[in-house]
Amino acid sequence: MARARGKGQVAGSADGGSALAGGLPSEVLAEGVLRNGYALDGFFDEAFEATAKGVAPRKQYVDLLRQIAAMDGADLRRGADLANRSFLNRGVTFTVYAEGDRRTERILPFDPIPRIIAASEWAVVEAGLRQRIRALNQFVHDVYHGQEILRDGIVPRRLVVLGRHFRREVVGIDVAQDQYLHVVGSDLIRDADGRWLVLEDNLRTPSGVSYVLANRQIMTRIFPDWFADLGVRPVDTYAGRLLDNLVGLSPRRAVPGASGGPAVVVLTPGVYNSAYFEHAFLAQQMGVDLVEGRDLFVLDNRVYMRTTFGRRQVDVIYRRVDDEYLDSLAFRPDSLLGVAGLLGAVRTGNVTLANAIGTGIADDKVLYHYVPEIIRYYLGEEPILGNVPTFLPFDPEQLEHVLANLDTLVVKAANESGGYGMLIGPHADEKEIEKFRRLIVANPRNYIAQPTIPISRHPTFVADETGDSGTLEGRHVDLRPYALSGPDGVTVLPGGLTRVALTPGSLVVNSSQGGGSKDTWVLQ
């Protein structure tokens, strides 16, 4: 539990030098950024493990830590500064809305110490995600067609049809290749025993993959030596794979000799959206147009973009606009972000959307509880990746338990993201707990509760007060891997976005709440 963490052993103190004999030459590790040693504080650490004598690096980190320990803090600080400045100059930023409607562009702070995932560990994560996405895709298809899983009582019907992201408008509509979940970014954590758990599934418009690519680019520029001989799997195949998948979804085939071919576009809410950089980046990497809703129109159930010479038909839309804003005729009538009549074009099969409309029903945080059952139901397999135990207040018995234990639980609104609408019991004051108590009682369907998981930590560079130097300290991390589904099945980008809570002791890694990121290396 986060609140009751004990003091772990400290290497590098009076007798700590020998503690690392198994992994690193102690005289090296006791210097530089590890001169104060490294405290586990009772958490599972990605890079170090407790041994009988103290703390030792895990196998996949030995080479890297030897190099890092040989540097002094000033080198690391310069590297981090360089990376952050480069992100600012390149505009690798996200938009935050501060008080009074003022927009500011911020970078996602970059921590230079990479996370390393061994090949054997990654194989489990990859297989687990593939399994989960295959099952969830079948679930979404079922929900909008036969609804067998509801009839069989595996998932309560009212949970689905009353869900905020259930789209009755697409019931019965067929989508290309029965694919709903083209791009998935599920959040994974590791618990006190180092077990990988899925914290939540992001099945609508998951963001952050551009940081994965940007982080890798900057790492190879700033610390190229660190990669030597490790066999880090590349990540820059992502855009090409995404493009192939999108082109493959086109209802129109390329006509030999005709100019153009299937037109793929990225649909963004616009330049003030917090993930705008990513939308532009992906469009650029794929060499396709980045459009806003006002650039498109629908005529005779076909989607066109407005060009300098009239119109051009659009076949596939990688949309980063939420369902309810996509079509002011079908969904929210006040939306200016979408295209009036788009649903008609989808229904007639003249355009394909990625992800499909209505996938949000499967990443509802209440439905999350049922995912292991969903996997068993459709695939007849045991889930490879576990879930975090979840209490559902809409069940009266569980409601009682939740209300009695609010000070130890994490409570989340079922349909929020970005770390908003969340209560972390152990870190909350009485007022906040009372506020959530009222909210839950008023609308139990809208909340879930989970035990506070002491999520894993990772060595993270912390500059000292002078700013000239610093040390490594443990900070909590999670992992968001990115998976693409296409005709050849599910591919998982090796790595993903490691988010790190830069505030000491904090468990919240969201960029809007003081989180940063790290490059993530999957080894061959």
């Binding site: 505009g91 100019s259 616009g270 705008y276 980045l290 300098t308 010479f309």
Partner: protein, 352 residues
């Protein structure tokens, strides 16, 4: 290409050119007025020049009157840094940068980064304070804006494919320049006329005879980087009529009205003739590719290509230059109507 992208490129061309022009004119007004001395007659002249500068860059209405009479202590700050002046240099750079950001996937990384870096630099409060603090730094700042604009043009020139987008960028840049040269010459001409150096001359001889002081004409050439070219092309010392001829009718000077209008015409010619072949789009039902913008700019170009200086002066130079500005506005409107279904971020929208 997507209309909104074309519009953004066109406006990047315009805003950067506008920033450069303001920087050039501010710098040159500085050096010109500093040499005027400190008699009360010189004070009045100085004020006239700073007022004229406000007029050229279209900032008369936004200039805060409570700051006292226009002079070197308040005009540069207004033209360079003011957020109230939508045409101030930092605002133009910010708008160009915002437009580039909406289409950063289509411009080279180098081009975007140059714009973004310069934008971040001029937004720094410390930099603003320093630059406004003293005249020398303000001129240095203006020089850095001109340098930046030229750097950006160099990057663009060497990275951008010669497709539609490039030609929209050029159309914006040169339309802005044609208009700006016309306005600069017009305001200066009237200013010098007011000071009795050109009188009401309607032919070249009278004009040159009336000019008592040729220094202002040299300054004008400097402001348009045309001083050396003037001597080489016109092969004589500074004469008002030859300066006017160079800035209006020269087919080779990159900032003359004729040259600039010719570049706009060439850009629109490519856009309307070549681009449809690779654009991949089809006309909207009932549309034609017939372009009124191109017709208008072609006519303006022809007027300047086949006109002599005497023709220009005979009807009054002021009237001719006002006519150029009016036609440039109209060409701009036509371009908006014909090619851009949507307008790019305007100053008001960007601030909203």
């Amino acid at each position: 290409m997507l209309s909104r992208m074309a519009a953004s490129l066109y406006w990047i061309g315009r805003y950067v050119e506008r920033a450069e022009q303001t920087a050039r004119l501010t710098e040159v007004t500085f050096s010109h007025t500093l040499a005027m001395g400190s008699t009360s007659e010189a004070e009045a002249r100085r004020e006239r020049h700073w007022t004229a500068l406000l007029e050229i860059v279209g900032a008369v209405s936004t200039f805060p009157r409570e700051d006292g009479p226009p002079g070197e202590s308040n005009v540069p700050a207004h033209l360079i840094f003011s957020h109230d002046n939508a045409n101030s240099i930092v605002e133009c750079i910010a708008l160009a940068r915002d437009n580039a950001r909406t289409m950063r996937h289509q411009v080279a990384t180098e081009m975007w980064e140059a714009l973004n870096r310069f934008h971040l630099e001029v937004q720094q409060p410390a930099r603003r304070r320093r630059a406004t603090a003293e005249a020398e730094k303000a001129t240095r700042f203006c020089r850095s804006v001109v340098d930046f604009s030229q750097l950006l043009q160099g990057i663009t020139d060497s990275t951008m494919p010669r497709e539609e987008g490039w030609y929209f960028l050029q159309a914006g840049k040169f339309l802005e320049r044609a208009e700006s040269t016309a306005r600069t010459l017009d305001v200066n001409y009237r200013l010098l006329a007011g000071e009795g150096t050109v009188g009401g001359a309607t032919d070249g001889l009278a004009l040159d005879a009336a000019a008592e002081d040729i220094q202002p004409w040299a300054t004008l050439l400097h402001s348009l980087s045309a001083y050396e070219s003037y001597h080489r092309i016109q092969r004589r010392g500074i004469q008002p009529s030859a300066v006017i001829e160079l800035l209006t009718l020269s087919p080779v000077l990159p900032r003359s009205i004729r040259f600039s209008v010719g570049q706009v015409e060439a850009a629109l010619a490519h856009i309307t003739e070549q681009a449809p072949a690779y654009n991949g789009s089809e006309p909207m039902p009932g549309w034609t590719l017939d372009s009124e913008a191109r017709r208008e700019v072609g006519r303006l170009h022809a007027d300047f290509a086949y006109q002599r200086l005497e023709d220009l002066l005979a009807g009054g130079l002021h009237r001719a230059l006002i006519d150029v500005q009016r036609r440039c506005y109209r060409i701009g409107d036509r371009i908006e109507d014909e090619f851009f279904a949507h307008r790019p971020l305007t100053a008001q929208e960007a601030m909203a």
